[in-house]
């Protein structure tokens, strides 16, 4: 899934398939929970916002309208790869476990769990007395039905199934005990189970034909209505009593109603918030964050997101970028730091690592391996690689062939800022004599180009919050055609070794060493050029209190309330 340019964009709130993670992390958890203003983004925070939440007791009641920038095609989390589906579904579905830190998990619908020594069998003991919104009791059979639904080919899962790559089946041991069997160990299983994509659904609702599907979970809000391309309304589940272990309160949610309103046009969405027509918006345009922060009536929730940083992935098997010197030359030609600062108005940190800093086993020291911006080095490397002559258009040539690098992008998912960044990168490359071409394609043509390897660069980012994302991106077997995200077409036994260890090992020090080696290897070989770390930037009216944020940086509305 992670293949496309666009999938990242978690911070824009759009299709972010790679954002598997909707559990709550706690890097920020301590700060996050309860206060809107949290942010690991340090500098960009104003302290005053944090104060308010702690001084008042939450009030129940009211409706909150949150404007999103993308519409969902389905509300079935097992089918969708869209982050907006997960954002909405998180309120409807509970998960077996909750992610409480980069690699720690707490109880939720499962009160405790055990893993077999071979890492292939997980046994979950389930919370009792929980019922789905349709009255069906929550039992082991529901867990089995939900997971079987995910992997059923008829479901045509676009993302969730990839979170259970070795799923063999589930066994109901007792009404409150279920066993998940894997054909091979899969360390990130708990992280996967913590996401909304693997939220537990009512077996009764799943038995209905696809056309009649409605999301029925055990979560704090129950599904109300969905007007296509307009809004989704959720209502409070009054008897909710299965909050995750790290939640700020227990019992029912405070809000009576939660309304997700689609406003795809950036300026319109932003204007709707500043003119108080909605109480919150996803994907605040970076250019407007500063003015929103200084506004007396609004606040900004800016949260770093783990996963792979938004990067250019270089295709190393064919074309000009097969030569590591050309890859490094391209890296050296691009002034990432200045571009990112300008284009995103300082709201996203420039990245120096394949993994975001809040991802488990992120190794900051790997950044030293990165070929940084230096135009002279870029030109020297091109000379060394044999691209010595310059033609009349100012591009390097070799044997009469111009140094042209194809970078197809997916039109649908490209924001104005992405497009601006792309233009800046193209201009930078030109200064070094590299003809970087950036055609904008529709979904079908894009899949086609990737399938037939008609590209040298792919942009992507914002994947799941586990370092195993690197295996997805670089595993020799993880090519696009097998459902993987290895668009670089790297096939390195050494890298595979570290990443496969990461998949099965449960030993933290070994994991740290393996993932650190992998990060350094990727950068020293210039398989990718990291551009920026992902940040989710949501805006809220000051009357909104208590919004928390999960590990992916998305707002959680369970403890949210309105202060009139």
């Amino acid at each position: 899934m992670q293949l496309s340019a666009s999938q990242r964009s978690a911070h824009h709130g759009r299709e972010a398939p790679r954002t598997g993670t909707r559990g709550r992390v706690s890097i920020a958890a301590a700060v996050i929970v309860g206060s809107l203003a949290l942010s690991a983004c340090g500098s960009s925070q104003s302290g005053s916002q944090q104060a308010s939440a702690t001084t008042q007791a939450p009030q129940s009641g009211g409706a909150l309208t949150y404007a999103v920038d993308k519409t969902q095609l389905t509300l079935d989390p097992a089918v969708s790869a869209q982050s907006v589906t997960a954002l909405i579904d998180r309120n409807i579905f509970d998960s077996l476990v909750v992610q409480t830190g980069p690699s720690s998990f707490g109880p939720w619908l499962a009160t405790r769990w055990t893993t077999s020594p071979d890492g292939k069998t997980y046994t979950f003991h389930l919370r009792r007395g929980v019922t789905f919104h349709d009255g069906t009791p929550f039992t082991a059979a529901a867990v089995k039905a939900s997971l079987d639904h995910v992997v059923d080919p008829k479901t045509a899962s676009q993302y969730a199934a990839s979170l259970l790559p070795t799923y063999e089946g589930s066994k109901v041991i007792a009404p409150d005990q279920v066993q998940i069997r894997l054909s091979a160990p899969f360390r990130p299983l708990l992280q996967a189970l913590s996401t909304a994509y693997l939220g537990i659904q009512s077996p009764k609702a799943l038995a209905l034909p696809v056309g009649k599907y409605a999301p029925v979970g055990t979560g704090p809000f129950k599904y109300g209505s969905w007007v296509n391309k307009k809004n989704v309304t959720l209502n409070r589940a009054a008897s909710y009593a299965s909050a995750p272990s790290n939640a700020k309160h227990t019992g029912a949610a405070y809000l009576d109603r939660l309304n997700f309103q689609l406003i795809s046009e950036d300026q319109t969405r932003y204007g709707a918030l500043t003119s108080n027509q909605v109480q919150g918006i996803a994907a605040v345009p970076p250019s407007d964050v500063a003015s929103l922060k200084s506004s007396s009536s609004a606040q900004v929730l800016s949260v770093p997101q783990p996963g792979n940083s938004y990067s250019l992935y270089f295709q190393v098997k064919s074309g000009p970028l097969a030569d590591v010197r050309v890859r490094k030359a391209l890296s050296a030609a691009i002034d990432v730091k200045t571009l990112i600062k300008t284009v995103y108005f300082g709201q996203f940190p420039a990245a120096t690592n394949p993994l975001g800093p809040t991802t488990a086993y992120h190794d900051a020291s790997a950044g030293q391996e990165l070929q940084g911006f230096d135009l002279a080095t870029a030109k020297r490397l091109l000379d060394e690689a044999g691209w010595t002559t310059v033609n009349s258009s100012g591009y390097r040539t070799k044997d009469g062939k111009q140094l042209t690098v194809e970078w197809p992008t997916l039109a649908v998912n490209e924001s104005a800022s992405d497009n601006t960044l792309g233009q800046g990168i193209v201009a930078n490359a030109k200064a070094a004599g590299i003809d970087l071409r950036r055609p904008s394609l529709d979904v079908g043509a894009y899949i086609d180009a990737v399938k037939k390897t008609k590209y040298s660069v792919i942009d992507a980012g914002g994947g799941r919050a586990d370092p195993d994302i690197l295996r997805f991106l670089y595993g020799a077997k993880q090519t696009f055609l097998t459902g993987g995200g290895n668009t670089s077409l790297v096939a390195s036994p050494q890298l595979d070794g570290w990443l496969n260890d990461g998949l099965v090992s449960s030993e933290p020090t070994k994991l740290a060493a393996d993932y650190s080696a992998a990060q350094k290897y990727i950068l020293s070989n210039a398989f990718q050029l990291p551009l920026h770390d992902n940040v989710s930037i949501a805006g809220f009216s000051k009357t909104v209190k208590g919004v928390a944020s999960d590990v992916s940086g998305y707002p959680l509305f369970y403890s949210a309330w309105l202060d009139d």
Binding site: D266, Q267, G271, P285, S287, D288, S291, D335, T338, L339, K341, T342, V343, T409, A411, V412, E414, A416, N419, T420, G422, Q423, G424, V426, A427, N428, K430, R438, P439, S440, L441, D442, A445
Partner: protein
Amino acid sequence: MSTLDITHEPDPGRAASGLLVTGNLRARRPSVVAAALLLALLAVAAVWPSAFASHPNQPDLGAAFRGPSPTHLLGTDQLGRDTFARLVHGTRTSLLIGLGGTALAAAGGALWGLVAALGGRIADEVTMRIADILMAFPSLLLALVVVSVLGPGQENVLLAIGLSLMPIFARIVRIQAKVVASSLYVSSARGLGVSPLRIVVGHVLPNVGPSVLVIATMNVGGAIIAGASLSFLGLGGSASSPDWGSMLAETRGYLQADWWLPVAPGLAITLTVVALSVVGRAMQQRAKGSGR
């Protein structure tokens, strides 16, 4: 979304004339002269943009979002590129989409209309029913589908616009060609054994030409707007050369903070389309005057 094209047409001249500026040509001469001057300037900018400004794609990240100043007449954009230079260099692409799309439509439509008018009953039925079908698609919808099939990109936008306007020309040319063909001197030429091709070249085209030109002039503006609308919907394609539609689409997010950014390309489009209407109308008046 061409605003000036004329589709449904029992009497082509009629609705066409209506969309033009009304009143006496002489009284409106200053505006016609001004419009013609503007178009001439645009033509020069399209052919030789470097005469006015250079480096439209040169980012200067330290100087992004500067307001208008002597060094940057219209300020700088989000990458610190000079807006004036981009506007000037964008003239070519924008006019190319407008002129090229219309020229394609006019040429294809003329051929189509001639085949319908002179190719016999069956050819007439078939080609005109195809025109009916195509015209049942609103032009933007047709362009949308064409761009989806061919992929985004400036050439495809041009093609899409050309195709969506083609039936309009086909209908007008067909009616006019029929009138000419049924006229006395053409039927007598036919009686004398003059080949059909010569009749078309010698009699039909010269008579049809002026009205095609007039309708074309009026449609160029609409084609420019249609191109901008496709860019707005994200189907314009990102090209190496700037164009007004994408400039407007890319900078619309800055309307409140840095209003001059989207206003510059927006004004360029509006003024160009207005100038085209004024000049097109003057041309039509003249055609009418000499024709009657």
